[in-house]
Amino acid sequence: MDFQGIHDRLQAIQAPGLQGADEPREPDPENKKDKGRFGDPFVLVDAKLLPAFLQVCRDDERLNMDLVADFTATDPAKDDENLWINVQLLSIGQKHRLAIKCMIPKANAVMPTSVPVHRSCQWHEREAAEMYGITFEGHPDPRHILLPDDWVGFPMRKDYEFPEEYHGISCK
């Protein structure tokens, strides 16, 4: 199925939390400042309902998204209020992909965990949590994964300041 088909199907089964879709478009020739948007289309999903959405995508026989290929977060800009959650779904049976985006506010970066639906999210969520400071409620193992346990700060945020020293080893 192409993106349009997937989106229609999602609307037809009333997937929980579906907020809309964003598709690439050409730049507007009238407006010089508009550079357009390229790349992949994605669907926008409510972060609070993401686990339910993933479950629906997995269980629906025509979507059949049985694999979470990627689960990550993005900090779009320093002065942006939101963090993005980017999920890439892959269907082994139907051989199609779906990109999902959620917005969560930086000030209160809390969302439910998707581990009960896909265990592959476990490590991805741990990584996103330590890198962006997102709290995944109900995560079975909320420890740091890549960084040392006593690391301060969330390195992948755009406003992160590099440390001066760590355990007596200078970083300069």
Partner: protein, 405 residues
Amino acid sequence: MTSTAQETHEPTITRSDEEVVLDSGEREFMFDVRTQDMEVNFGPQHPATHGVMRILMRADGEVCTGAQPHLGYLHRCAEKIGENVEWLQYLPYTDRYDYLAAMNNNLGYSMAVEKLMGVEIPRRALMIRTICAELNRIGSHLIAFGTYGLDLGAFTPFLYMFREREWMMALFEKICGARLTYSYIRIGGVFNDAPPGWLSEVERFCDTFEEKWKEYCDLLMVNHIFVKRTADVGVIPVDMALDFGLTGPMLRGSGVDFDLRKDMPYELYDEIWKDKAFEIPVGTGEKGTLGDCWDRVYVRVMEMMESIKIVRWCLAAIEPGPVIADIPKTLRVPPGEAYVGIENPRGELGHYVVSDGGKVGVRVRVRGPSFVNLAVLEAILPGALIADAIAIIGSTDIVVGETDR
């Protein structure tokens, strides 16, 4: 460094060996005699961890009762760097996360950026890209297979495989000047054309490799001890594989016929697949259970041969022409976001790039297949012997540079 096994304990006698699945999904193993669990530390410096990974293992005698991988001993902040350097400058960093398959990483990153830019790649460049990526797949699988033998105690096949890999690296050195970190596949094509005589040398490499490949199969794949050590060990059922998001040989070893080159073809693979030039080896459970270590290794070994076929197809079809599209020195990538997953030797290598139209990316996300494949260890190690644990870790074929990035 006190070992807990020094304390003596009343052995508990249970009726039989059985596996109990608790409500939480955890599996608990019962044995005739239970002793107190001992925690042993695999790594970070341990010859079987394939790099600097650490596995904290609970063991009851020789039997592992719980395992917890600890990562981050090689965290090199590749994604942060991607947000700070220019698009083209990031290319060398892609070499370094999966350092065994640098060409494939270059390819994945270039394709993601090209998808945003919408450039047309010259056909010769596509050919050379395919040849390089497949040759590198062979090199990567050679190391995976060789070190797997090393894990199981067979030292010599490893050196034999390095012999062929050394030739492969010499081929890459001729085409781009580097042995391990190539940065050869660029955004828009490849860096330069293949030097004269290179393609015929690749042909000779293919001929030689086919002979040697049979030798390796004799040495390891059908070796009785090797089969005994790997068959029925570390079985990953299909639903577990999907639940953990496994891709690549890990998934195909479990019997799922899914390969991005065939099912979601990119670049030339569509054409090659339609030409029936290669096939996708899938685990069959020939020597044991479907999805065991032997199947995973089998898939890798067979894939080397398929890669040779793909290379031969490209060698037959390659024609002269330009090798790089006309792209500016300083890239300004149009705004948008793109995800490209390609078939790396270890599974789906995903690059998720976000651009706001500037010289520097907003986000360069790498979905490393090793990172995802590694998580399954937590589920399949309990119940295995310590020696089996080594076999299982080896069969996941991880590259720590990629798990930690």
